[in-house]
Symmetry: C2
Subunit: 206 residues, 2 copies
DNA sequence: ATATTTACTGACTCACCAGTCAGTAAGGTC
DNA sequence: GACCTTACTGACTGGTGAGTCAGTAAATAT
């Protein structure tokens, strides 16, 4: 018993609109993007957009939520259930995840969070609860296990799991800001960082 | 023969205004800051501000230029003329510089560059020429010397001197975005990163 | 004193755009 | 077919703020 076609639109609209908004924000940023343009890209009138989203800010939040959540959820789930060694996990699924961030459309959202964050404290709070603190917790657990198992030695990475993520943020922003001046080989950059870290905290020689 | 008092104002005005603008941008960001408010903070009328700066965007550029240049110039000069070993330099003057970035008023400018950069390509170009590419060149030279002298082994840091700077950007942004959620001990964070890097690329054991 | 130049003011304009709402038409129901 | 409901439209408004400019007052020149 599928929904009648008429109502199907209603269900799809929000996703269609947030997708259009992501594109628009990617090109112009939040402030410079006209609501009307988002509507146009979604093939919809401005009025309809306001039926689904109360304000422009509301739309912005919905964009972040709908694109960031699914990705991060998958990674965290992955960390928590893996039975690989920490090094294998970091060099495998984690590296793969880290590498695609600077290339995927969400890279724009990272920049927008930095740019607009201070103006939207409740969005930052949500992002913290749903993304950052969970990711940090998962990474800390992973590191803890590895240290306890004698795989890694005790190091600052246990206290600051952010050290694993640092080059991801860096290259995500670099490629957006200095696109014209210099392109960074983000794959190798991120892997190089991981190599150096593992070199420093691993137990084995060379 | 000093300038008459009357003309002194004229010389000081731009600096007074850019200082006021830095404060205002720090609190509200670029778009949300009203030109009139900058004028007010500088104790000046809006009209006068437009005598010294053609547009709001022009003012923004002047702010970046006047606050970023002097700092980076000093660091680069320092790298080029030092006779310390690379490790001593990195643990000394470089670390000191890196640590104060997330605490100084310029941290706001870093965020604004990320936020507004894509909208101001000519500003990015200037920033690249005057700051980033020069800093990278200086760091690369430093690393090259150290490798040639047998102090460090050949590593990805030679190709990607950005790896040295990564946690500076990270903590500069982190403290601004997640101020309320979690405070990061940026001093220890940045030093921890440096320790790990040096551990990985140093020649000596332990 | 008078004239001239220079730093400065602030009321005004004009374009812009987030958000509204009266109206339309397509879809469903009886 | 008549009637109701629901998704949708787009012209309009009200607030806003960047940038202007005619005018003032203080400093300097003659």
């Amino acid at each position: 018993m599928g929904k009648p076609r008429f109502q199907r639109r209603k269900e799809d609209r929000p996703a269609e609109i947030t997708a259009a908004a992501l594109d628009a924000f990617a090109e112009k940023g939040f402030d410079a993007t006209r609501v009307e343009e988002v509507a146009q890209r979604a093939g919809v009138s401005k009025g309809l957009l306001y039926l689904y989203f109360k304000t422009k800010e509301d739309l912005f939040k919905a964009v972040i939520r709908s694109f960031v959540s699914p990705r991060i959820d998958a990674l965290i789930e992955n960390i928590e259930t893996t039975d690989q060694s920490a090094e294998a996990f970091l060099r495998g699924p984690f590296l793969q995840f880290a590498r695609q961030v600077p290339k995927s459309p969400v890279r724009v959202l990272v920049r927008l969070m930095v740019a607009e964050g201070p103006k939207h404290p409740d969005l930052v709070a949500w992002y913290w609860d749903n993304v950052v603190s969970r990711a940090m917790h998962a990474l800390r657990t992973l590191m803890r296990r590895a240290v306890d198992a004698g795989e890694f030695r005790e190091s600052a990475v246990n206290e600051f799991p952010q050290l694993l993520v640092t080059p991801v943020l860096f290259s995500t922003l670099w490629t957006q800001v200095f696109k014209r001046q210099s392109d960074l080989d983000t794959d190798r950059f991120i892997e190089a960082h991981l190599d150096l870290l593992l070199e420093a905290i691993g137990r084995s020689e060379t």
